[in-house]
Amino acid sequence: MKRIKSKEPYYMLAPSFLLLCIFLLYPLLSSFLYAFQSYKLTAPNAIGFNGINNFKAVFQDSNFGLILKNSFIWVVLTVGGQFILGFILALALRRPFPGRNFYQAIVFLPWAISSFVVGLTFRWLLNAEYGPVNDLLLRLGIIKDKIYFLSDPELALYTVIVTMTWYGIPFFAIMLLAAMQSIPEDLYEAADIDGAGIWSKFWHITFSYIKQTIILTLLLRTIWVFASADLIYIMTAGGPANSSSILSSYMFMKAYSSLDYGQASAIGLFFMALLILFCYLFMKATKFEKAGNF
């Protein structure tokens, strides 16, 4: 159907793009300005440009180094864990078995659940006094003392990472499973005739066929995990003493608790710069442009 000169598609796309321009593009651009302003809701009369004061305040914050380190650990461990566990699940689901649909509906469930419910459930599971995890570990003799999963500054971040990993496995599994199901079956048959082993089949067919999906999913997920603050907010609120704060949760707390929109915007700009740098390096390292077959 050729309707090249028609204006119809523009009208049809207009509502979506209008909303995106007003409530996504404009705010994004305006945050460049707010980052250079003193913008505290607690002092509405003192709003005005203050140069790079916000950036100075952020970088001189004694917690900033810790938060950057935490963000790095958070992203690497969470995305890595989600990817490996999601990959194994997708492999196990690749070939049909009786009841696979029903099974899928259950194991993909965490994807459809709010971070609030997930955070609450894991806080309660890991509760030091009345939680079953400590109870079982003690009974089995694996530990001698209770573990304070969420109030021990050494552990809090890793506890949230484990929860976040659990939360994100379905997403990876769904994406990878779909890609695996598009692999033509005759590739495997040909490999069988050639006498290829299991590992060789996995590496040369399964893995190399879905490589582009893996790269795209890793990229999207890294950005998403880096930016997600809700589970941290629900489980530890960044505490104790910022030991489980990452850049995004810190930024949210700055805006929400201290109402300092200027400083929060400065963190946001820094955040964006990191993201752009990461995307650039990631695409270079993986030669991503080949995947752009839209």
Binding site: M1, P15, S16, S114, I198, S248, G268, M272
Partner: protein, 278 residues
């Protein structure tokens, strides 16, 4: 040799599948049994892995003493609004991208994909400032706008991939039979697309139903709070009433659970389709 190897792999596979099943189910099991235990049985070091004294008191307390009915009403309103508007816009836009050739098409697609890379936290603060200027702060309408904006790029791409699967011939035949373009869209295409439309709606609905941080940031009065925000205030305290909170969590996850179970296959198909192929 080959037979033993095969048996070995089947066993490994069953073990792996069981592992994931338990990993997902056990946390929910613990959540649920806590919600039906009396307070004394919850706050005890002698943990009951099977509730001895089954009770629905926590649900009763949740319903009567908190504003849960108000939170529920707000959540339904916001999620329905988000779902309906997002789906309508996505149908229109997806149809345009799937069936027309036009100058800015590539740019539009790239623009949509690019928005997927913008984290919501970054936009939250400037949006809050914008909202307070135009009076959308602390309103359910503002929240719905935020959620539409957050969900529309993906839903549009998703919808486009659903349209792509439907052969153009169907519409052409309808056009030849004297149907108008819009008539063809409504009478021929949309009925076939129903699963895709439902999947898109559910995607947006669940997204709005589950969202937490924007709802915290943009809503301040109690009578406008959604379920996750309303309940999260009680969780921030040190003395959490676990019985009532778990009852609230069970109520909060029921709708997404039911919807996801019904349309899981379409959402999963569409999710991978929309995101992989762009």
């Amino acid at each position: 040799m080959i037979r033993t190897q095969r048996a070995f792999f089947i066993t490994v596979r069953i073990c792996i599948l069981m592992f994931y099943l338990l990993m997902v189910l056990l946390p929910f099991y613990w959540l649920f049994i806590t919600s039906v235990k009396p307070r004394m049985d919850i706050l005890t070091t002698n943990i009951q892995y099977w509730p001895k004294n089954f009770t629905l008191d926590n649900y009763r307390v949740l319903w009567s003493s908190s504003n849960f009915d108000v939170f529920l009403k707000n959540s339904i309103l916001v999620s329905l609004g988000t779902g309906v508007f997002t789906t309508c816009f996505a149908i229109l836009g997806g149809y345009a991208l799937a069936r027309y050739t036009f100058k800015l098409k590539t740019m539009a697609v790239y623009g949509l994909l690019l928005t997927q890379m913008i984290p919501g936290v970054l936009v939250m603060i400037p949006t809050a400032i914008l909202f307070s200027k135009v009076g959308l702060m602390n309103s359910l309408g503002g929240l719905i706008i935020i959620y539409i904006v957050g969900n529309i790029p993906f839903c549009l791409i998703l919808m486009r991939s659903f349209f792509d699967r439907i052969p153009v011939d169907l519409e052409e035949a309808a056009l030849i039979d004297g149907c108008s373009k819009l008539g063809a869209l409504f009478r021929i295409v949309l009925p076939i697309m129903l699963p895709g439309i439902v999947a898109t709606f559910v995607f947006a609905f669940i997204g709005a139903w589950n969202e937490l941080l924007c709802a915290i940031m943009f809503i301040s009065s109690d009578e406008l709070k959604t379920i996750p925000v309303g309940l999260s205030m009680f969780v921030q305290n040190y003395d959490v009433n676990w019985g009532v909170m778990t009852a609230g969590a069970v109520m909060a996850l029921l709708p997404s659970l039911i919807m996801f179970a019904i349309v899981q296959r379409f959402v999963v198909e569409g999710l991978s389709d929309g995101a992989v192929k762009g």
